[in-house]
Symmetry: C2
DNA sequence: ATACTATATTCCGTTTAAGGAATATAGTTC
DNA sequence: GAACTATATTCCTTAAACGGAATATAGTAT
């Protein structure tokens, strides 16, 4: 995996937030929408971008597409994801995303495949 | 320092190489030209880019502009520079840059301000 | 002042990315 | 198959970045 390609993926805030919350486990598109409070197109496109570069993988599960970090990421990716977690530890935006993810977890769990689920 | 801004700086190979060799100490533009084998405009522009985002600092010394990493970089920058060093350790391109830097060091030392110097 | 060196900036064409509106696709449910 | 849900893709506009050629600027040396 080319290092520059990784950094290209990291240079957009939405994608950073996506990768950051994904570290806690897989999610579907509609969950990202709620956690990041961003429109469907935006989320979907950024996920496609990340996917085309191998930073995330996905799998269909009924109506849902479940996105996750690759099971065995290459060294450079692992290092950078760890660095990202480290750098965001005290950042309000990223912390708020995690808080929302936690808050929504039960609601997600009721409806959806990934051990998560959409709202109404 | 905004995390995304850092990643924007890191998503170009020339800039990665610049930051990578800078970890070994300050250099002038003409040294980068020789180490990276890249034209003056290219080096100069990328250094300006890095400088405008605070990833490098510079100081004039006679005819030369001496570029260096900031003395006390913010946490996120320090973490990412360390990660970069880690990720490039086995990369031929980056290793070759370091080799060239070492090879040119005496020649640089003869002529220039930063404990380095241009060639002919 | 002139010539010279090192570096920065401007101008140009090309590529890439971003966001949103609208639309298409795939799967589910009845 | 019609209605519905979740997601992807297309089209469009705008903005940013890259590289190189040419030119400008700042400092040095004579």
């Amino acid at each position: 995996m080319k290092l520059v390609k990784i950094y290209e993926c990291l240079c957009d805030e939405t994608r950073l937030r996506v990768l950051h919350v994904l570290a806690q486990g897989p999610l579907c598109v509609c969950h990202f929408q709620q956690i990041l409070r961003a429109p469907q197109v935006k989320i979907s496109k950024h996920l496609a971008y990340l996917r085309s570069r191998g930073l995330v993988v996905c799998e269909r599960s009924g109506n849902w597409m479940v996105y996750a970090l690759p099971a065995k990421p290459p060294r450079e990716l692992r290092a950078n994801l760890a660095c990202l977690q480290d750098c965001t530890r005290e950042n309000p935006v990223f912390r708020r995303d995690l808080a929302r993810r936690r808050k929504f977890a039960p609601k997600f769990a009721r409806t959806s495949p990934c051990g998560c689920a959409p709202a109404a």
